[in-house]
């Protein structure tokens, strides 16, 4: 009962902070709301009993990605207020599309009831006994070794690309 209430609270706060990210005028405030949103999403992951994923969420999103963004805001010197949100015709069309697709997808969720029939190889008992780290490592280094290596290559390419893009040209 208490857990349900805490889950509802965390979910509601996640939604509120995410909306604040999208509507706040000040970029720095928006970034701070985003940090809060990342933390609250990690709390929601905890309610799924996935502690490692919650830790990753905090470390990668609230730590690394948001630090990148705050550095970018600092270096770009965005003190100029970009002004009010203006709705142009294309934006209005996009917004209408989004607002139409949202209830459609929610409705679709209500129809999906057959998913519990698919039972995977990882039992709940194993998940509670070992935690997800050994199980995930087992999957990662056997079935998904090639995608794992490809992700590491992607990270290397990303770092090199970012440096190559952002460094000052000599000419």
């Amino acid at each position: 009962m208490l857990e349900s209430m805490l889950l509802y609270l965390a979910a509601a706060l996640t939604l509120v902070t995410s909306v604040m990210v999208a509507v706040t005028r000040n970029t720095v405030h928006s970034a701070l709301w985003m940090v809060a949103s990342c933390f609250l999403l990690a709390v929601v992951f905890l309610f799924l009993r996935l502690q490692f994923m919650a830790a990753l969420q905090v470390i990668i999103y609230a730590g690394a990605v948001m630090m990148f963004i705050i550095f970018a805001i600092m270096m770009l010197n965005l003190r100029v207020n970009p002004g009010r949100i203006q709705l142009r015709s294309t934006k209005t069309a996009g917004l209408v599309l989004v607002l139409f697709l949202f209830p459609a997808l929610l409705l679709l969720l209500g129809m999906g009831r057959g998913i519990a029939a698919l039972q995977g190889q990882v039992s709940l008992r194993a998940l509670e006994q070992f935690g997800e780290v050994p199980l995930l490592a087992n999957v990662m280094f056997s079935d998904y070794l090639l995608p794992f290596e490809l992700v590491s290559i992607l990270l290397t390419v990303g770092v090199i690309g970012a440096v190559a893009l952002a460094k000052k040209r000599k000419d």
């Binding site: 509802y8 996640t14 939604l15 995410s18 999208a22 509507v23 928006s30 970034a31 985003m34 949103s37 929601v44 992951f45 799924l48 009993r49 996935l50 994923m53 990753l56 969420q57 990668i60 999103y61 990148f68 963004i69 970018a72 805001i73 270096m75 770009l76 965005l78 970009p82 002004g83 949100i85 203006q86 709705l87 934006k91 996009g94 917004l95 989004v98 949202f102 997808l105 929610l106 209500g110 998913i115 519990a116 039972q119 995977g120 990882v122 039992s123 199980l135 995930l136 999957v139 990662m140 998904y144 995608p147 992700v151 990270l155 390419v157 990303g158 690309g161 970012a162 893009l165 952002a166």
Partner: protein, 101 residues
Amino acid sequence: MIEHQSLFLALAVTLFFIGAAGAVVRRNAIIVFMCIEIMLGGVNLAFLTFTRTTQNLDGAFMVMCIMAVAAVEAAVGLAIFFLLYRKTGSIDLEKFNLLKW
């Protein structure tokens, strides 16, 4: 079937569409970027919910891939913002309209 499955999924969908609406409407490139991160967060939540529902760790691995891609996207995207800022002195997306019809 886990408890509150539909709550988790509804939260995931709502986060995705909050991010989509923000990415469509906002002009500040960094805020658009953060809205895209919110969309990725919603997708991650859906993957993790199905990881628990189907008791299959493929979704969890997918989430780790998404997080790696998000980190790379942050690095490359912000480098691109630097370039845009150096060229025009602003990151207002309305000013970059060469590809618009």
